[in-house]
Symmetry: C2
Subunit: 354 residues, 2 copies
């Protein structure tokens, strides 16, 4: 990354790549920095993957991912033709920027949000405008009306963890009838309202979800989009112009089994929500302000100690959280919800650090 | 794919996606149409995948793919910083078009070649010029000198199966000093000369390879590129602007183990080459012309019967081969090399069909 090269295209030269959360290996950390699920994936999914690790791996995967798409469609009450699957929701989002947004038409997203959105806009040369959040990080709904090019909002938002209502999203949809509105529901299963049921009603809605958070499968790289058929066709055209098979055979099978294991899903997500509520109370007792969270992470700031200091000191103590050195949020920390034991250990370390 | 949509971007509207080989499911076929390896993957790779299907799948994969890259580097006598890995060589090629080629500068590739190249050029809006092959499908080396934008050549070429020498590739490299020359070695392990050893000598060389063919792992989606550090950095910048983790944990581990299992690799590739030579002789006895092949497929034409007729009749008989309805090659068939039993069954069916 150090230097420019005469061999780079203009595109490569202008890129400002996304930087994922640290994956430190120098010692054993309590890892609360990349919003992974602390519980293992569905045992049924793991069994299915083991069984699929056989001679059939010599064959290409199904380029249409028909089985996984019909599993998702059935689970969410849609048709297979309303489902697109990809290599993590990041790839699905990247393809969406290519499929639905144009260079000269401004796409709107919040000024505090997933930091990959401006990276996509930059690589695909799409103009965008940041809509400022309110001081409490709530979303000004009218600010997303009548977009020139389209809208992308995560619900709940990251890294703030704040959710918006389906009703508010519907207002944004009806006020952007000719433009695609992407609702990034990566974290929706931890208490926010999904708009999946609005797919049949609004032809401009694309809902993006992932296996990485609520299904404990960040390591498998599977995400998907729900939308009406012509939106899904648009995404498929992009995929088939880049890579016919973005999901390997093991990911296709593991993903389908994880979706089918509803009991395990309900149990683990409820456990995380319960831990979140308990730990929120503990942190408030320690002098933290905790933004109301509907995600598997919380966004916190302390009344006395600067966030960056807490971040660095916690790392020394073996606890990784995420700190964004950006205006407006540079006194906040994003903390993933781990197991009860991990969160209690973090609280203990905070008692040392503060 | 049927219709246009008002929601599609200009890019989505102009796409002409690649069409992969048929994956028919209506009955059991002898599948000689997508150049898969007929032998299963290395048993050691399968064991490693099974062992990795555990609770750690809740965590993101290593975004740097450090272990796989160092395994590849060690195996091929390079440094890790000279290795990029991606989701199949298709994704690596797509990222290469973005990283090294510009809209207004013509990229050169053969007029008969892998049909994904013009698809990449189209999606990323890169101009290109097709260099005509000779009538025997050999590559006119001088035709690739002094490219405006860059060069991409597969060695051996697909679907013709013809190889060119390292010496010829070196001529192309020294006559394009300021432009990237991509050598797509998807099929190189079946008898052609690899130019991996030229990476240290030529700073404009990018060599692309894959697990899908000679390592029997089309179902795992792993490909890579070898080049000097600034080329690898260019690819990494593109990847990190689209998807931080393009390879899941299972693919990373399975790929590394497959590379390490050199004995199995040598045994299976030699078996395929032996079958190829034997079947070439049989086909010649049936009145076929067989283009000299250094790949795990052959490109054939019959003295009397039109290729399209043979293609359709073989499909009825349960044998899938690939037919390209394109000027210059529309009387040829591309036939993947299967097991000896599969190839003998094909010969039997040909006796019925011809």
């Amino acid at each position: 990354m150090k230097r420019m090269s005469k061999y780079w295209s203009k595109l490569a030269a202008r890129l400002e790549p996304y930087v994922p959360g640290e994956q430190l290996k120098d010692k054993k950390y309590i890892k609360l920095n990349t919003n992974e699920n602390p519980y293992p994936p569905s045992p049924k999914a793991l069994e299915a993957i083991k069984a699929a690790a056989d001679g059939s791996l010599k064959l290409y995967p199904d380029p249409l991912a028909a089985d996984l798409r019909s599993t998702l469609a059935e689970h969410y009450g849609l048709k297979s033709s309303q489902v697109f699957v990809g290599n993590g929701s990041d790839e699905v989002l990247a393809f969406s920027f290519m499929a639905f947004f144009n260079a000269e038409e401004e796409v709107l997203f919040p000024d505090v949000t997933y930091s990959f959105y401006p990276v996509y806009a930059n690589i695909f040369n799409i103009s965008y405008r940041l809509v400022p959040l309110a001081e409490d990080f709530s979303l000004p709904v009218e600010g997303f009306f009548n977009a020139e090019g389209g809208v992308i909002i995560p619900n709940p938002n990251a890294p703030t963890a704040r959710a918006i209502s389906s009703k508010d999203i519907e207002m944004i949809l009806v006020n952007n009838k000719d433009k695609v509105v992407i609702v990034d529901e990566a974290y929706v299963d931890f208490g926010a309202e999904s708009v999946v049921e609005l797919v049949d009603k609004h032809e401009n809605l694309l809902v993006v979800q992932t296996l990485s958070k609520s299904r404990s499968l960040a390591g498998l790289r599977v995400g998907w989009a729900f939308g009406q058929e012509d939106l899904i066709d648009g995404l498929t055209r992009v995929k088939d112009s880049i890579n016919s098979y973005t999901l390997d055979r093991l990911a296709l099978i593991g993903a389908a089994e994880a979706i089918k294991d509803e009991d395990y899903f309900q149990e683990t997500r409820e456990r995380i929500m319960a831990t979140r509520e308990r730990i929120t109370a503990s942190l408030e007792n320690l002098g933290f302000k905790v933004i109301p969270s509907k995600a598997n992470f919380i966004f916190i700031t302390h009344e006395n100690t600067p966030a960056e200091d807490i971040f660095k000191r916690l790392r020394e103590e073996g606890v990784l959280v995420r700190y964004f050195n950006k205006p407006g949020i540079d006194n906040y920390l994003r903390v993933s919800i781990g197991t009860d034991e991990e969160m209690d250990a973090m609280i203990e370390k905070l008692l040392i650090v503060l």
